[in-house]
Amino acid sequence: MTSPTLDSAITILIVDDSEEDRVTYMRYLKSDISRSYHFLEASTLEEGLNFWRSHHPDLVLVDYSLPDGEGLELLEAMGEGVLVPKLEAIVLTGHYGNEQLILQTMRLGAADYLSKSEVTALSLCNRVGRVVDHLLLSRKLQRLQNQEIVMAKIALHIRQYFDLDAISNAIVQEIRIFLKADRTVIYQFNPDMSGVVIAESVLPPWETCLHRQLSDEYFPENMGGEYREGRVFVAPDIYKANLSECHVQMLEQFPTRASLIVPILRPNHLDNPLWGLLCTYQCFEPHLWDELDIRLLQQLSVQLAIALQQAELYRNLQNSNTDLENRVAERTAELFKRQQESIALIENSPNLILRLDRQLRHLYINSAIEKILGIPPAAFIGKTFREMGLPERSILIAEDTIRTLLITGIPQQYEIDFPLSDNRGIAYYQVSVIPEYDADGEIATILMVYADITSNKLGEIALQEAHRRWQSLLDNVRLIVISLDNEWKVEYANPFFLESTGYELEEVIGKDWLSCFVPQTEQVKITQDFIGFMGNPEQFHKYYQNSIVTKTGQERVVSWNNTILRNHNGEIIGTISIGEDITEKLKVERIKSEFISIASHELRTPLSSIRGALGLLASGVLANQPEVAQHMLNIASSDTERLVRLVNDILDLERLESNNVTLNRQWSDTSEICQQVIETMEAIAAESQIEIISNVPSQQIFADRDRIVQTLVNLLSNAVKFSMPHSQIHLEVEAITDEIIFRVRDHGRGIPESNLESIFERFNQVDASDSRQMGGTGLGLAICRSIVQQHGGKIWVESVVNQGSTVSFTIPHRI
């Protein structure tokens, strides 16, 4: 072990038997203040050799002549084993100018020689100085060379090993040897700035401190302090380095006398670049650290940092590799498990699942087939549907679908039903046909999945049937059905609505109900009711009556039964209304009530006069007025007659209109009928000086003869009433293809055009008083119309005011 020198002084061994000379030389050399020398003194050759061997002086000043031998012997010892030695030795000789001697010393490798007579302070200092300069220079070169070797070695280690431990161990080893230190360690910080020794090279007998945890409070507090800035800690002697007590204590743990510590920084870790420390210690003695050593260590720490990064990357890579491998293994295990589960699922699926090859032979079929057809799956393997004797229809559909699949490559779907085994009924299946490809992208096999949709299908059929019934009901019901949405747009209208209104379906759907189908006069009220109902559905009018407008603009009164439609969330989505067209019903009711009102008035008027007349007679006030009394009796009698006619007519009409009269049809001759009518009317006409002219061909007619006579008498008596004296009335009959037309034509005052229809209504004569004045009841034409209609004919009037009227009616040959 080399003893470290405390300073950089050059050790000079002076071998000379003259103490005086030795002292002189030393005094001279010390006078050179640019250098500092350390001296070893030997007075004999042997002593000189011993010192050389033990102390390895940097330079030897040797006297040629020594008491126990020649100084050249020392040179020989120094250059031993070296072919061309170059010795840091200067030979001093008293033999000035002895060329033989000079040659000899040079051959032995001495650096210089000096004649004792020439020795002065200047000459000695120059000679020694030159040798020392050369020595220092060559040593420095040597050191640099060594450093480069170390660097190269370490770089090689770093390239050789990816493993951080191997690199770290190699580095500390190289550094410790190179620096000739007692201990070199790599110290790694934990995230909390405590740390651990992760690599060490140490000489015996010093104890190892590998893996030792160091809990210096200094580091955690300042996060590594100046080390983070890259500062190097250099302590030639820790006891003279002005360190804190605790720092010294920490360093003593190793133990340490001199320490050189450089930080290991990771430049890409900006938050805390300080990874660890590269520490070199001399354990026992102080040591002056060379500037070059410090720089070397710094460079090594950079190398180390690179190695660290590399190692970390490598470790991460390894970890991720391991991770990847683990994951692959996990996936494989999971896949296997899934596969097992899938197989179990497929095997136990209620759906029929099978796989066919391109020739439609079964490669696989699950056990569902046994439940469906009662045939074990194994029986299908290698067989086609046809070979299995399945129902022809199912084979054809399957073959056709698979053919399509093989051509198009598109998955197919169809529905099929087939009978279950043991007469368990029909099952419905939805069949999915799916291509399965090989590595070349060709369809290799075909997967077929038969999903049992029997319950769905039956439900669907039931639903369709229910729907069909509803549709049929809606299509055929003789009621209006209208569905409106929330904005009162028509969503549905049934055929009867279209029939009633004359609209086409496309003229109705989507139209606004109010503005298109409700009379303007009723829109406001319905809108108000609707708004009220939207605010409070409780107020919804379940029953409603309003008019609708047909395409031709007629109004029909409809009695509605309304229902609110809600969606599955209970929100109102519209209404559906069923309506009955009550227009005719209302009209009939109105006519009926008017008839009763008029009839009662018509009956009570003659009754009042009869009662008044008889009351007067009974009271006796007319006892002295026989003429007035007779007049009253006449009135009573006349009004009694009128009352009888009226009651007869009303009852007759009522019977006719309620179809309680059965016509007594028989074949009759029209001329005979007309003859009978003329005979009946002749006297009355003659009384009014009116002539009845008839030109009636003989035609057979199948009719109730008495009713036809009644009708014609009625018409003729009307004509007589409204004709002027000396005028004519024509009775004509004309036979055309299907019917016979009867005409009664007068030249009377005529009927205004506006009344041509209403004269056939009950009590609706043109002039109410006319009939009474003319002795009629106001029911004659109504009765005529009823009779004609009973025969299946029509009755109408054509008239020109003040020129005359023609009443015509038809009787069909056959009903």
Partner: protein, 124 residues
């Protein structure tokens, strides 16, 4: 007591004649009968009755028109008018009352009672 004179305008000839006899026999009033509105208006050119009984529903000219003609004529506008009408709805009565008539008697009236009804309406 001077004898009241009444003009009865009604197209129901028989009933009008019975009424006339009733009024003359029981009350001693002098009754003139017209069988149409036109005839009534023509008679009013010569007679000035104390009241007019006017049927509303008549052919040719209805009672309302007759009444309006009476109101236009200064000679007849002061004569109290009683309507004879089959229309006995409350709304009809109100409408007639607004015309300024004395009252209405429902048709067909009872000949034996009508005299008392007229006397009551006219405070005779």
């Amino acid at each position: 007591m001077n004898i009241k004179s009444i003009l009865l305008i009604d197209d129901e000839i028989n009933l009008a004649q019975v009424v006339a006899v009733c009024l003359e026999s029981f009350k001693g009033w002098k009754v003139t009968v017209a069988n149409s509105g036109k005839e009534g208006l023509r008679l009013l050119e010569t007679i000035k009755p104390d009241t007019i009984l006017l049927d509303v529903m008549m052919p040719d000219m209805d009672g309302i028109t007759v009444y309006q003609n009476l109101q236009k004529n200064p000679d007849t506008q002061h004569i109290p008018v009683i309507f004879l009408t089959a229309k006995v709805q409350v709304s009809d009565r109100q409408r007639f009352a607004q015309l300024g008539i004395v009252g209405t008697i429902a048709k067909p009236f009872e000949p034996l009672k009508i005299a008392d009804q007229i006397a009551e309406l006219l405070d005779w």
